[in-house]
């Protein structure tokens, strides 16, 4: 296809040409960055979590007498176990994605204290007996806690529990002791120390690290018997029984402690709540991209339709002197391809610039290079689809038009 006549024709319509190129460029820049942001957020929402989420419900019990927590907990656990369909019950102090984070920093040498800069920041999960079946965890190495390890272990208003055993996640084990088994190794935070007895598959933290995916899995589980912080009862059942189990569990606990504040939630709803604003931002971005591309496409349709109308006579003459329908079709397709190309080249530069700005202002990551050609390809395709309608109409112009006055 000869490009020269197309270019000289476009030169005659300089301003509309510039406008459509600018529009495509802007759309390309916004599209690349928006898709990059969407993918980052979707990746965050899809972070794996090695626990049985489907059948899990949690009931929190606040505002009961701390002095009675030992007997209360035993009574409550027994009451919850008696609910039909419950497969496992335990009590913990927090769950993944609840925003209730108890962080601490540990080192791997005996002289590590909590304020050491080279320590690793870890979430502490204080867990009661049978937490592994209630939460549905997966053991990778070693063992879970013995019953005796729970007895008399408490936190008693301190910052750390008085036990000496710990179970950590796979990601934390790889961070602290890369290439080695963590079993038998020790976490230190003067004067406390904890020996690793087991490693479980990666469970999410109560609050995720947006900047570093594997940091979202740095968890340590400590066995705790009766303690004032242990106020989240977790129950596992089949997903079908889940909602009924939740309702009965709330009723039971409220009945046994009428003065307490009882709140229940399925883990699914905890997850939904945690990701709610991420989710809504994703939909905003998707919506904006869709409407933006539609506006761009209709802009191309409108502009090309006008040009086709304007050039009816010329098209007729070209047809009369021997141009085939395919030639006319190709003319408009090539014209659109040139416009899109100019647009996406400018757009890719703009997209890169926008990304640099966002990195500086909003702590976004660098956009991988392949987003740029992807955005370009998308706009080329949209351009070609949009132009095909008017181009077909142009191709359908009969040669006889050449002989008619306009």
């Amino acid at each position: 296809m000869e490009i020269r006549p197309i270019v000289s024709s476009l030169k005659k319509h300089r301003i509309p040409t510039l406008l459509i190129v600018l529009q495509i460029a802007l759309a390309c820049a916004v599209l690349c960055n928006a898709v990059f942001m969407i993918s980052g957020r979707v990746k965050q929402m899809r972070l794996s979590n090695a626990m049985d989420e489907q059948g899990l419900v949690s009931v929190s019990l606040q505002g009961t007498d701390p002095k009675l927590i030992g007997s209360d907990t035993q009574r409550n656990l027994a009451a919850l176990r008696s609910i039909a369909g419950v497969q496992a019950v335990s009590v913990v102090h927090t769950l993944p994605l609840t925003n209730n984070n108890w962080g601490w920093s540990f080192g791997i040498t005996p002289d590590s204290s909590v304020t050491d800069q080279k320590n690793t920041n870890v979430t502490l999960y204080f867990v009661g007996q049978d937490f592994q079946s209630a939460m549905g965890l997966q053991l990778r190495e070693g063992r879970y806690f013995n019953d005796s390890e729970y007895v008399d272990n408490a936190i008693n208003n301190a910052a750390l529990p008085n036990t000496h055993v710990v179970i950590i996640t796979d990601a934390l084990s790889k961070q602290l002791w890369p290439g080695q088994s963590a079993l038998g190794k020790t976490l230190y935070s003067k004067p406390n120390y904890y020996t690793v007895v087991g490693v479980v598959a990666d469970v999410l933290r109560p609050r995720l690290w947006t900047s570093n995916e594997s940091k979202s899995y740095y968890n340590a589980f400590f066995p705790v018997g009766a303690d004032d912080v242990m106020r989240n009862y977790v129950l596992r059942s089949t997903p079908a029984d889940r909602d009924r189990v939740l309702q009965q569990a709330v009723e039971k606990l409220q009945a046994t402690s009428p003065q307490a504040v009882v709140k229940g939630a399925t883990f699914q709803s905890i997850r939904d709540k945690y990701y709610a604003d991420t989710n809504s931002m994703v939909w905003i971005l998707v919506l904006v991209c869709a409407v933006m591309l539609a506006v761009t496409a209709f802009g191309i349709v409108g502009l090309t339709s006008f040009w086709v109308g304007q050039r009816r006579r010329q098209i007729g003459i070209r047809r009369a002197v021997g141009a085939t329908r395919a030639d006319i079709l190709n003319y408009f397709r090539t014209e659109n391809f040139l416009l899109s190309s100019a647009g996406v080249v400018l757009g890719m530069v703009m997209a890169y610039g926008v990304n640099l700005y966002l990195m500086k202002q909003y702590e976004l990551d660098r956009m991988p290079w392949y987003y740029l050609p992807f955005g370009a390809l998308a706009l080329w395709l949209i351009g070609q689809v949009a132009v095909s309608g008017p181009a077909m109409r142009a191709a359908a112009v009969p040669p006889v038009v050449a002989t008619q006055p306009t």
Binding site: Q23, S211, V261, D277
Partner: protein, 442 residues
């Protein structure tokens, strides 16, 4: 003449209905998206204490002990107990209040409702006058109540509605944690935006600051009273050594209390700055703190800016919407331009029959303006729809989303501006059409 131009414009618009609809729609969605995000931005970045914010200051010293690993160039966002109480009890400012927030169990003895968890704010008496907090019933507690640790409380309108059905509850007794307090005041509905008196840690939040726009706390009790009744439930902002008893931070190596002061004149501000510096120097000399020259006294708006209170998602959405509007604008200008130029013949005839350039320009501008007005009106409706949608979002500021008078006017201004922008260039071009050339091609 105007009527004639309008008639011409409508005729032309009716001539190609699909195209007209397309242009109107493009402007409408562009304006709808931009105005929705700009409205949210406007609401979230406003001044929560207009007329007074210049005289309200957030006082900071670096309470880290010598060689503390948690020392940075910026002092911690909050104070430790001793510094906070020393600075507060010096009463060097016109007004001053401490602030700390903690979760608390709330029960009302004489009401048949299960207890609930709520948030407790522990300020001192000046808080209510300093921050223009409106009262429905009763009033704030007195300075004596602060020092005597009186068991008194002020409750929010929401809590009053929930517990007492909105009736005057002054004098009734509320159970907080395990202590009884007497209600002395009930607030009017009060929604400071953001919850400016408790904005801390913005620089560590990675832009996720939506929770700064949460509703005020449910209950307010005097600072020193709260330390007694809700002991064990306070949370540290940061610590250089672990507290011996979790939630009991008096005397612990932690920062957890904010100090706000009201200073009525520049001279008072300067002298308070000196006071802070002197206090820090004196404490350093005593060996208690390690970094004497690390004090700050930012006014309210500077403190909010320092904490970047507007969530980064909202700022991103605003940029997104504005670039979207630009795309829609390009689109409309391009379409109008080709539309006018396509009518070159018609314009040529008009010019030949005596229409001046200015008249052609006005005729085209009327057509563009009509599209702008239609687009603007639809855009305004879309903005209302957009705000409705924001209200349904799961964010702390959702209930704030509404269109105020300023934004109502701005929307109209934007619509007019956009339509003029969209219309001027094509109209200018159309009016430059040389009549002779056009007539020749007819």
């Amino acid at each position: 003449m105007m009527g004639y131009y309008m008639d011409l414009a409508l005729r032309s618009l009716r001539h190609n209905k699909v195209l007209t609809a397309l242009m109107v729609l493009a402007i409408a969605v562009g304006i709808g998206a931009s105005m929705t995000t700009l409205t949210v931005m406007h609401l979230l970045s406003g001044n929560p204490l207009p007329g007074k914010s210049d005289s309200i200051f957030y006082a900071q010293i670096d309470a880290n002990p010598p060689l503390s690993p948690s020392h940075h160039n910026e002092p911690p966002d909050m104070l430790d107990y001793q510094s906070a109480v020393d600075l507060w009890s010096a009463h060097k400012a016109d007004r001053q209040t401490l602030v700390v927030e903690s979760p608390v169990k709330i029960a009302a003895q004489d009401v048949q409702q299960p207890p609930s968890m709520g948030m407790l704010l522990s300020p001192t008496a000046d808080f209510f006058t300093m921050f223009n907090v409106p009262f429905q019933y009763g009033g704030p507690w007195s300075a004596d109540d602060d020092t005597h640790r009186s068991r008194v409380a002020v409750i929010s309108a929401d809590l009053n509605d929930k517990l007492y059905g909105g009736a005057n509850s002054v004098g009734r007794v509320l159970r907080l944690h395990d202590a009884d307090v007497r209600i002395v005041g009930v607030l009017k509905p009060w929604r400071p935006t953001p919850q400016f008196y408790y904005v801390v840690g913005g620089r560590f939040s990675h832009g996720q600051t939506a929770d700064y726009y949460a509703k005020p706390q449910d209950v307010f009790t005097p600072f020193f009273t709260s330390l007694q009744i809700n002991d064990g439930n306070f949370e540290q902002f940061n610590c250089w050594e672990a507290p011996k008893v979790a939630g009991h931070l008096v005397g612990a190596g932690c920062v957890w209390i904010g100090l706000w002061v009201e200073l009525g004149s520049a001279a008072k501000v300067a002298s308070y700055r000196n006071f802070l510096a002197d206090y820090a120097a004196q404490q350093k000399a005593a060996g208690r703190i390690g970094y004497a020259d690390n004090t700050r006294l930012r006014n309210l708006m500077d403190w909010l800016a320092f904490n970047q209170v507007v969530p980064s998602d909202v700022r991103l959405q605003t940029w997104l919407a504005l670039s979207f509007l630009l795309i829609c604008l390009c689109n409309t200008v391009g379409l109008l331009l080709v539309k006018f130029l396509r009518r070159g013949g018609e314009i040529g005839i008009r010019r030949a029959l005596g229409a001046s350039r200015k008249q052609i320009f006005m005729q085209c501008l009327f057509e563009a303006g009509a599209i702008g007005v239609l687009g603007g009106t639809c855009g305004w409706l879309l903005t209302l729809l957009g705000l409705q949608w924001v209200r349904a979002q799961p964010v702390a500021y959702a209930d704030l989303a509404h269109m105020d008078l300023v934004m109502f006017g701005s929307t109209f201004l934007l619509a007019v501006l956009v339509s003029l922008l969209a219309g001027t260039l094509p109209a200018l071009h159309a009016s430059r059409i040389a009549p002779a050339l056009q007539l020749k091609t007819l």
